[in-house]
Amino acid sequence: MSKITYIEYGGRQHVVDVTEGLTVMEGARDNSIPGIVADCGGACACSTCHVYVDPAWVDRLPAKEIMEEDMLDFAYKVDPVRSRLTCQIKVTEELDGLIVQIPEKQI
């Protein structure tokens, strides 16, 4: 289990344990955290699981693949450095302590 902190747009924090192997999106879904919509269920097809990764964590995550980068390119209020799609981030032990911020809205 890795501890992940999801911060809603209004500032409300959710600190939850997510099983390694799941994605950061699935961690939000399984803990009913609002704001990560994930319409496509994790297929990298809809860009509705967008978050801003805490600056301290940006470089500690595996790099974006082209598909994710391209999807993000047109997401709502993208930050070129901090924006990620949570369905593309697999939870590992190294991600214990990860903090992500949920945007005002998806798309």
Binding site: E26, D30, S32, C40, C44, C46, D70, F74
Partner: protein, 413 residues
Amino acid sequence: MTGIVVIGGGQAGAALVAKLREAGYSGRLTLICGERVPPYQRPPLSKAYLKGDMERERLFLRPESFYASQDIDLRLGDRVTEIDPAARLLKVGGATLAYSQLALTTGSVPRRLPALIGGSLRGVYVMRGLADIDAMAAEFVAGRRLLIVGGGYIGLEAAAVAASLGLEVTLVEAAPRILQRVAAPETSNYFRTLHKSYGVRLLEGTSLDRLLGSGTVKGAVLNDGRELETDFVLVGVGVSPATGLAERAGIAIDNGIWTDELGRTSDRAIWAAGDCASFPYKDMQIRLESVGHAIDHAECVAVNMLGAGLPYIAKPWFWSDQYDVKLQIAGLNSGYDRVVERSGKCISTSIWYYKGDQLLAVDAVNDPRAYMAAKRIIEAGQTVDPRLVQDPNTDLRDLLVTAAAPQTKASGF
């Protein structure tokens, strides 16, 4: 005290109950699911789950505990056999259940081959629920022969999984080309080439005459008289809306359960959403079979059940994964009179559907930027000059800037 009952635990049913709670409904809420598993995602069934890359629990739309935590009475493995709209009563599993408002999210059922031509033989499968996939999983072994009937998205996705796993795949499509019902020839051509490169035998313009075998399917006779042997068969010839229950209750049916722009059926206390329901779109009454629509329609109906009075405006989008290719579709192409193709990097391309100068839809193949740009333009009711689209030097971002409302008269661009 009665409350809201939702019949059908698919994507729409799950979205509807969650939205009712989110929107503040605190009365009794019951979700009746025919299957014995909590609501789950269907798209991976013909993709990652079929391939064995995804465990069952990861398909669940919400953990089972969600329903209890939201005070939603989740009834698994229950089937409603009758609705009595006058009394506002349901018959479910031999008991009766009263409702103040009812939502039908019964989805759709796959069309099957008639028993007369072998549709009931063992080894003949359809692809709709977890049980279907679990039943056929043992057949997906390298070297075995699979016959797929139907060259739509389900058939092609299954072909991709089977070919990737080393099966010998033959696919027959009665229409002159695969994806004929849903896409332009350019898109069909792309996927034909792709599947052939993986060794799938595609027989277009070829229909199935009958399946052969006694007890278990052994082969097939095609309409041109050809016979072929097969170890199992997958039928992917479309779905029909699950309207039986509504029909028997005297609710109006029109290409699915008829609903108005709010999602209400011909009975004031009964609503419908998702695959099973038809709804007004532009000047048509249409039905959509997609996850995006199931969610949006159900959420809209949920707030309308609480009195919001919010007309549903569909924003159609779809996707399909085949091999390492992702197809994303924005908009609905029905009524298109021309297409332009925009070639992207490497194996990416996009097909842009126009009616006059109005952009209707885009099929983006491994080109998420084209998909996202087009989705924005279409949903804003705008259009872009096809010459700009076709020009590889046009940046897609610039398209968004130049997008504008279509001219009322057809301009020559």
